[in-house]
Subunit: 335 residues, 2 copies
DNA sequence: CTGTTAGCGCTTTCAG
DNA sequence: CTGAAAGCGCTAACAG
C-alpha cells in the first residue's frame, strides 16, 4: 500500500498542490488548510516518495563518500573517525550518505552514481595524486570535495592535515633531544600521506645538512607487522639509528613489540615517535609520543564544504589545511 | 544537460522501449539493434536516471545500515570491519549502501527512509533488545536483518556472535588454569553484548557452584579508561581476584596499563583475558589472551541475508549465530 | 523482435 | 491563497 499525495488530498479535501505546498513548507497556505493537510498526513501516515521528488526536482539529496578499498586503508580508527565526522554533519542536514569504496589502483569511475543522478555530490578520500579522473570531474563541474589528496594547480575544494609539517615536527623533536641518527619507517608509499611524511623527514634532514642515510629509511606498509620488521632491521644495522620516526602508531607499536622481544629498552636504548595519536597510544608501555591529527574535524569540514557547494549560492572552492600537533609522552629521551 | 532514453533512441533510430530493453539486458533484442543502441549510448555517454527507474520499478536499489551513534560504539575496529564486510557484499551487487546512525536512547524511527522508498531494506546494528520498533518493522513486513541484537519470540533474520558462549569460554579457561577468584570488568550494560558477556561469566560461576561475588564485578563502559579504573579498583580489594575477564580488549589494555603503573606483574600476579581480538591484542606486552570474533563475516553474512530477502524468491528469516574462539597468548598463567 | 500507450508520484507553471 | 494541466525519465502491458 503505497500512499500518494492524492490520497492525502482526498482526505483533506484539497488539491494535491496544496498537499505539496504544505510538505515543502511553502508560505502561502492558509493556517487552517495547513492544519487539515497535516492531520490527513498524520492519520494516513503518509510519507512522500523520494524517487518522485528526486525525479521532478532533479536532486536526490544523497551524498557519496568514496573511500579506498579496505586493504589500502591505514587504520580503522582513522577510518571510523572520518566517517563519523562526515556523518554527523550530513545527519543534521536534509541529505543522506551513500558509502562506497574504490580501488586506487584502477582508474576509478568516481562519477558513476553522480551521472545516474543517484547522488548530488562526492567526498573523495585519498585519491592518487596523479589521478586524471579528478581533473575530469572538475572540468564537468561535478560538486566534490577531496579529503587527503590534492591536485596541483587546480581550484578544487579539499581538506587535509599537513603531513609534511607533522613529520617535520616529529623529527625536529628528536633532533632537539640530541638525536643525530634518526631512522624512519614509512607507510605504503602508494598513499600520499606516506609520501608526505617521508617528505617531512627528508626536509628536516636537508635543512640541518644531515646526510640522508639511505639505510635508515625502511619501507613499511602501515601494519604493525611492518613496524616490527622495520625495527628489527634498523636496530641490527652496524650503525643503527638512536631514534626512529614511525609513520603511524600501529607501526610504532609493532616496533615497540620488536624492542620488547629483542630486549631493547624504549626509550633508553632507542627513542620512538609515532603518528596519528590513536587512542591506544597512551595505553601502551611506555606511552607513545606521537603526532595528533584532528580527523573528526577533517570529516566534518569536508561535509560542510560539500554542503555549501550544493547550497545554491555560488561558492568558490576552498582549501583547508589543518595542523597536526606533537603530543609528548614517554617513548623518547636524550640519547 | 540531462540526456534521456529519448535522445539515445533518436540517435540509434529505434524506440525508447528498445533502449530500455538493451539497458535492462532483455533477451528479445536483435544483436544488431543492440549494437546500434549500445553505440549510441557510448557516443552520447548516456546514463540512465536512477530516480526515474526507482519511480517506475518501485525499487531504489539502495540498502541502509543503521548503526548506533558513535558514543555507543565499542571500538572503531569492530565498526570498520563490520562496515567493510557489509560493503564488500553490497558492492558486488546492484545495490548501494546508505550509512546512517541512530540514538539507541530514543525510540529510533528506523523506517523513515524505507517509507519514503529511499531504501529497499535495512541492516540494523545493535538495537536495544526491548525495542518495540523492531517488532513494528516486522509486522509491517519491512525487509531487515539485525546484527548483534535479537528479539525474543520473533521470526526475524539476525546475525550475531555468541557472546554468552565467548565469555563462558574465557572464564572456563581461567578456571582450568586453577583460578578460583575471577573478577570481571563489564562493558556498557545498555548494550546487549555487555549484558551477554556478563551473563556468560555468571553462567559459569553458577555452574561451578561458585559464590557470585558482587565485589568482583566492576561496571566499565568499553573504554580504556574504565579498564584502567576497574583494574585498580579490583586489585585494591581486601580479597582481590587473581584473574580478571575484561569484556573487551580496550579495557584489557587499560587494565594492563594500570598494572604497569601499579607495579603489578601480568600474568604473574594477575591474569587477564580480553574480548574481541583487535589487531593490537598481539602487540601489547604481554600479548593478550582474548576471544576472537569473526566480525567481517558477520557483516558479509548480514548483507547476504538481506539481499536474499530482497531477491524475490520467498525466503524464510534466518538466524545465524557464529561462534567466537579463545586465542591463547601470554597474559594468563596459573595462580 | 519492436513500438505505442499509459502512468509511477511529484513539482513547475500558469490561471483564477 | 488554491487548483488544473503538463511533464520529469522510465518501464509494464499490450499490440503488432
Amino acid at each position: 500500500m503505497m500512499l500518494s499525495q492524492a490520497d492525502v488530498a482526498r482526505r483533506a479535501g484539497v488539491s494535491i498542490m496544496t498537499v505539496s505546498r504544505v510538505i515543502n513548507g511553502a508560505e502561502n497556505v492558509r493556517p487552517e488548510t495547513r492544519e487539515k493537510v497535516l492531520r490527513a498526513i498524520g492519520e494516513l501516515s503518509y510519507y512522500p516518495n523520494a524517487a518522485a521528488r528526486a525525479l521532478t526536482r532533479n536532486r536526490s539529496y544523497v551524498l557519496e563518500v568514496l573511500i579506498p578499498h579496505e586493504d589500502y586503508f591505514f587504520s580503522s580508527e582513522y577510518f571510523s573517525e572520518l566517517i563519523f565526522g562526515i556523518e554527523k554533519v550530513v545527519h543534521d542536514s536534509d541529505y543522506n550518505l551513500i558509502f562506497n569504496t574504490y580501488d586506487p589502483g584502477q582508474g576509478a569511475e568516481y562519477a558513476a552514481l553522480y551521472k545516474q543522478r543517484k547522488v548530488d555530490g562526492l567526498v573523495i578520500v585519498a585519491p592518487a595524486s596523479n589521478d586524471r579522473t579528478i581533473v575530469k570531474l572538475h572540468e564537468e563541474s561535478i560538486p566534490f570535495v577531496l579529503v587527503n589528496g590534492q591536485v596541483d594547480d587546480l581550484e578544487i575544494s579539499f581538506v587535509d592535515v599537513d603531513n609534511v609539517a607533522g613529520a617535520f615536527q616529529a623529527v625536529q623533536y628528536l633532533y632537539d633531544l640530541g638525536h643525530r641518527r634518526i631512522g624512519i619507517i614509512t607507510g605504503n608509499l602508494l598513499v600520499v600521506n606516506a609520501r608526505h611524511r617521508l617528505q617531512g623527514y627528508l626536509d628536516f634532514l636537508s635543512e640541518k645538512d644531515f646526510p640522508e642515510v639511505e639505510q635508515w629509511i625502511f619501507h613499511g606498509n602501515w601494519s604493525e607487522d611492518s613496524g616490527y620488521t622495520g625495527f628489527s632491521h634498523l636496530v641490527n644495522l652496524k650503525d643503527p639509528p638512536s631514534a626512529i620516526f614511525c609513520s603511524n602508531d600501529l607501526m610504532a607499536i609493532g616496533a615497540m613489540r620488536a624492542a620488547a622481544d629483542m630486549g631493547v629498552g624504549i626509550p633508553e636504548a632507542v627513542s620512538i615517535v609515532g603518528y596519528d595519536d590513536i587512542r591506544l597510544a597512551s595505553f601502551v608501555n611506555p606511552r607513545l609520543t606521537t603526532i595528533h591529527q584532528p580527523i573528526h574535524r577533517v570529516g566534518k569540514t569536508a561535509a560542510e564544504l560539500l554542503l555549501r557547494l550544493l547550497s545554491g549560492q555560488p561558492e568558490r572552492p576552498r582549501q583547508v589545511m589543518l595542523q597536526p600537533q606533537l603530543i609528548v609522552r614517554k617513548s623518547c629521551e636524550a640519547p
